[in-house]
Amino acid sequence: MNIQDTSIAARRSPSSDGEKIITLAALAVGGQGGGVLTNWITAVAEANGYRAQSTSVAGVAQRTGATIYYVEMCRDTGRMPVFALSPAEGDVDILIASELMEGGRAIMRGFVTPGRTTLIASTHRIPAVAEKTVPGDGRADGHKVIEAMGIAADHTVAFDMEALAKSAGSMISSSLLGGLAGSGALPFPKQSYEDVIRASGRGVEASLRAFNDAFDCATGKRQPPQPEVVTKQIETLHVPARHQAQWGQLQARLAALPAPVQDMAALGLTKVVDYQDLAYGTQYLDMVESLATMDSAPFAMTVAAAKYCARALCYDDILRVADIKTRASRMSRVRDEVVVGDDQVLMVTEYFHPRFEEFTTTLPRWLGKRLQKSQRLDAFYTRHLDKGRRIRTDRLRGFLMLWAVSALRPWRRALLRHDTEMAHVDGWFATVTDVARKDRALAAELLANYRLIKGYSDTHVRGHSKFARIMQALPILQGRPDAADWMRRLRTAALADESGAQLDGALATVRSFAGETA
């Protein structure tokens, strides 16, 4: 689309004395310190013999929404210029965006003009509510925005100013100011910015650090913080001596798998072994190997099997939760995350709410099944025991409770939950194996459908029902050349909303081309 329509795109004219007004707009998200930034910019301008005017719509009623700040400035000639009160399309010299999508919004609103606008943008993301509430991954694609910045702006200074500010112990307003100063878009010396920051009085040192780091990034003197590629911390698997031999056998089987599968399978294997035991690892490798024999390069189906079989085997039960919550590694992660000093004491409260279902499925299969049938017991539990439990894992009592539950691990296979889970896994895997004989791409998608099963209690039930509905489309799709593609689309639809409305639509489409009536 062409944003520059046929409208007049006139430029500001200078005065007879050659003076020009400089316009600057800042798009910020509530709470980012946009007001501080505008005050700094105004003060820098005034310190350099400019007249400046700033306006904003104060955040009072805006809270966490997007807000625009606007500054105009002009060299002081003794006469007061007529400053505009809000940014106009095609008339912004400098645009500051404190978040990637806000930068995109500025472009869409026509505030970034080719051949005119210097764009100073932080490329970090603050996901909007709509992005966060999607059951799958609802985050917007930032690459398109970065691409558009390069096209729309005359000059772009864009990097993660939030990360930079954080590492300097400051706020993003400081690094944005540094980006602005470094861009050279304003005719003011660096020193004058620093003076203004010093005069502001609070957190001066940290602000100056962030300002200078950003300045150096903008001028190319320093490498901007690179997008952090999140990698899972590589955890080492501790294998006691008496298990070494068996573990060695598993490693050998792993090494015998087709090369493209090995990385994923190694992750999967350690995950299931950590979850349960070495025998579980054997069970896992059996599954992966059985599909590998039916697969050929590039082994996409087997990679999917390595990934989703591990997920399917490691279902989320109370034992696992209790195990994780009582691990030493978890305790130290919590301390890191909430930043606890050595001289401070950390209290940790866990929120649990086990319902009758969780209670009975954590019992031995025979007992659990019998109790599940007892309506009286169900009613009793619901009335007296079905409530939130706050467990203090920093205290011995609470820790021991969870520790005891986690100690049930060797008996997990005898519990009712394991029965149900394995029945489901077996059914799914049999279907996959069957389909794999004819359509490996479709089989890979069926494997990936296990992504839908996640969460606890009602969320878990909802995931199961979505999974079941997608799998029902299999007979319709099987045999079609685009079956795998459709299966993938159904899954994407299922992950798009909570209610399954999009899935309904996608299923209706599938049924329609199969000649069935919905």
Binding site: R12, S15, Q53, V60, A84, K132, E235, T326, A407, T459
Partner: protein, 714 residues
């Protein structure tokens, strides 16, 4: 205590002759009031004039020294009624509120005030919440000025003009015995600039002096037959006096060359935007020097016929720049020209859009269109023919997520709506009436709750038609904030529900402040306030009104309790309205109050506890059900970096204030056990430290023992 402290700004109010005052437009007005000998000030907070009220509230000492009475009025009607002090006494008074909503509330008092007229200058400063960033319906205040015959100033948006308008307003009011409205746009209110200050002036008569020597003039009282006299006086005396004053004092300004064949008649408030558009067309320089003939109406009502006709004389075409709809000014001028038999072409709406804010681009297009049609020789070639090669910019509209405002981090209203959503999951959807205030954000994702909003304090009133014949059937749920409750809700909503034997449910969201407008104190605020009586109980007020079924919830973060109470209210067979008062302090104000105290106590070596929430990412499955019941800015998504997982997991960042909503919601909705609450104890007691170390030792041993026997991630 307001959200922002104006202690620094208040000092500026003491400035005098020779000083240069610099600050926001709204502060300039505050200062101008004192320079003009105002005797009393009142008003009701609301964007964009909240700061005016906040500054005055913080400046009570200075006001006291000058003998100025300040009131935080109960409503805009109260504020306008307050101007009655200027009816018989020569005391200047000013009130302020958000318009058009505030003017709506004020209109009863406004009509009465306008009818009898005033002796002392009466100024109503209306914060016109129109255009981008507005939080209300888009209407004009102008209609109120016309129907009540009060005058309206709309000064050019720079501090010296705004300050001058305050003085002019008082004098115009006194010269014509009529209240005057001073209209301020959102951006004029928040524009930063400076002006030459003058000394503050004590009022010629204080309200105390007036009380000591009461006056009464029957002819000024609104009761027939005086009302007939008032109507005649408005037309024969007050309006002509105002017109004389406008001309003599030159309230309206003329720019450019009077000989021009085309001209613009503009509202003062639009002047800067007009000049910028002309500048971009090459017709004005950056100081506003232009050849184009402009009549700038700093007084938009009344219009003086002779001035308008004079301006139009000898012109081919005139463009009226009038923001908003209907185009009252254009209609009046059209009428004048027609009656006078003029043939000048009148343009306005049409060249410019019928409604909406006149932004820079809109103004540029409109003026361009007008000049192209009526004075093409003025249009620069460059503006008409575009030389620049259009650059194709990728369309991002599909990519960009909307970012509507929402509840702050730790907001106590979030759990109320999370609970409501849980009730609806159980009992089905209900008709929900919303009110004005922060709680209105429930309309937005992720809650998507609420069907209508009919005005401040009118949430329950707007559900009053809904009466279910089936006593076991569904009831409506309406929300009203503590601000709305005291503004109007106690009578219009609660009293009405009691009187009419409503069976519906009313939830009063009590966060201890008028929070959305910046945290001003109200009757039920918990804080001690030197000049106000706070700590008045909402529950007792409701009971006084006759409510029988009422529940007080002291901690809204208890989602389970809120949910169960709401469920009880929706199902109980007790007759009459069911009122739930859900109380917890606004987190923004609470943090502002507690954070420095906590930091200070920690520094002093006292034992302090800082709560925070976290998520165990290995336990979180990435379904985001928790976010669908939260929308908290500090609760977001992050990548795990684990190739075995597809979806991002929940994560809580450093801005978390540990309100507890995450854990409570996970509990009430039975979501998942991945949330944990961490409480970091600074300066723990020696015993506490010893105990923690001992426990940790035992835990370490247990962990070590378990790990030694199994294959596990170390």
């Amino acid at each position: 205590m307001a959200e922002r402290s104006f202690a620094k700004e208040v000092q500026k109010l003491k400035q005098g002759d020779g000083d240069t005052f610099s600050g926001e437009g709204i502060l300039a007005i505050t200062k101008a009031l004192l320079e003009n000998g105002v005797g009393y000030v009142g008003g009701y907070q609301g964007s964009p004039i909240s700061h005016l009220m906040d500054v005055l509230a913080d400046a009570q000492d200075i006001l006291g020294e000058l003998g100025v009475r300040f009131e935080a009025s109960a409503s805009e009607a109260t504020a306008t009624a307050m101007l009655a002090a200027s009816v018989h006494y020569p005391i200047r008074g000013a009130v302020t509120y958000k318009s058009v909503v505030g003017t709506n509330v004020a209109s009863d008092a406004l009509s009465n005030l306008a009818s009898g007229g005033v002796t002392g200058g009466a100024l109503i400063i209306v914060g016109e919440d129109y255009g981008e960033g507005s939080s209300i319906m888009q209407e004009r205040t102008y209609a109120f000025a016309m129907k009540s015959q009060v005058w309206m100033l709309d000064p050019r948006p720079n501090l010296p003009s705004i300050v001058a308008a305050v003085g002019d307003g008082f004098e115009l009011s006194e010269a014509s015995n009529t209240p005057v409205m001073l209209q301020m746009g959102i951006r004029s209110c928040h524009v930063h600039g400076s002006f030459a200050a003058s000394d503050n002036r004590r009022p010629d008569m204080t309200v105390s002096q007036a009380l000591e020597s009461p006056r009464r003039d029957l002819e000024r009282i609104v009761l027939p037959p005086a009302t007939y006299l008032h109507e005649a006086e408005k037309l024969t005396k007050r309006k002509p006096a105002a017109e004389r004053f406008i001309l003599e004092r030159g309230l309206n300004e003329r720019f450019g060359q009077p000989s021009g064949k085309v001209g613009l008649i503009i509202q003062g408030g639009t002047y800067n935007t007009v000049i910028r558009a002309l500048n971009r067309l090459g017709l004005a320089d950056l100081y506003g020097d232009t050849d184009l003939d402009i009549l700038c109406l700093n007084c938009v009502y009344p219009l003086v016929d002779s001035q308008i006709l004079d301006f139009c004389e000898g012109k081919d075409a005139v463009l009226i720049v009038e923001e908003g709809h209907p185009n009252y000014i254009e209609q009046q001028i059209g009428h004048m020209l027609y009656k006078a038999g003029k043939r000048v072409t009148l343009e306005g709406k049409g060249m410019l859009p019928m409604g909406g804010e006149y932004t820079g681009q809109v103004m540029l297009q409109g003026l361009g269109a007008f000049l192209t049609a009526h004075a093409p020789e003025l249009m620069p070639v460059a503006a008409v023919a575009k030389n620049e090669e259009p650059v194709v910019i990728p369309d991002l509209s599909e990519v960009l997520p909307a970012r509507p405002p929402g509840f702050c981090t730790g907001c106590p209203e979030r759990p109320i709506f999370a609970a409501t959503k849980l009730v609806e999951q159980e009992l089905g959807e209900h008709h929900i009436s919303s009110d004005i205030g922060c709680h209105l954000f429930s309309i937005m994702p992720p809650f998507d709750l609420g069907a209508t909003t009919m005005g401040y304090g009118l949430g329950p009133a707007s559900a009053s038609a809904f009466h279910n014949e089936d006593p076991h059937g569904r009831r409506s749920i309406s929300f009203v904030g503590d601000g709305g409750f005291w503004h109007n809700g106690l009578t219009s909503s609660v009293g009405n529900a009691v009187f009419n034997k409503s069976d519906n449910v009313i939830v009063i969201v009590d966060n201890f402040y008028a929070a959305a407008t910046g945290g001003q104190d109200i009757l039920s605020s918990r804080a001690d306030n030197k000049t106000k009586q706070t700590q008045n109980s909402i529950v007792e007020a409701c009971q006084g009104m006759g409510v029988k079924w009422i529940r007080q919830i002291d901690r809204t973060y208890d989602v389970t309790k809120v949910r169960d109470t709401l469920k009880e209210a929706l199902t109980t067979q007790v007759a009459g309205p069911k009122v739930i008062v859900a109380s917890s302090e606004c987190m923004l104000n609470r943090q502002r109050r507690e954070k420095p105290l906590l930091a200070k106590a920690t520094k002093e070596g006292k034992r302090t506890v800082r709560p925070r929430f976290g998520v165990d990412e290995d336990i979180c499955t990435g379904d985001h059900a928790c976010m669908r019941l939260s929308g908290c800015p500090s609760l977001s998504v992050k990548d795990t970096g684990d190739p075995l997982r597809d979806d991002p997991v929940a994560a809580i960042d450093q801005t978390c204030v540990g309100c507890g909503n995450c854990g409570e919601v996970a509990d009430a909705a039975v979501l998942c056990p991945s949330f944990y609450q961490a409480e970091i104890v600074s300066n723990p007691t020696p015993r506490e430290g010893r105990k923690a170390r001992r426990t940790q030792k035992i835990i370490d041993w247990l962990q070590h023992r378990r790990d030694a026997k199994r294959v596990v991630f170390a």
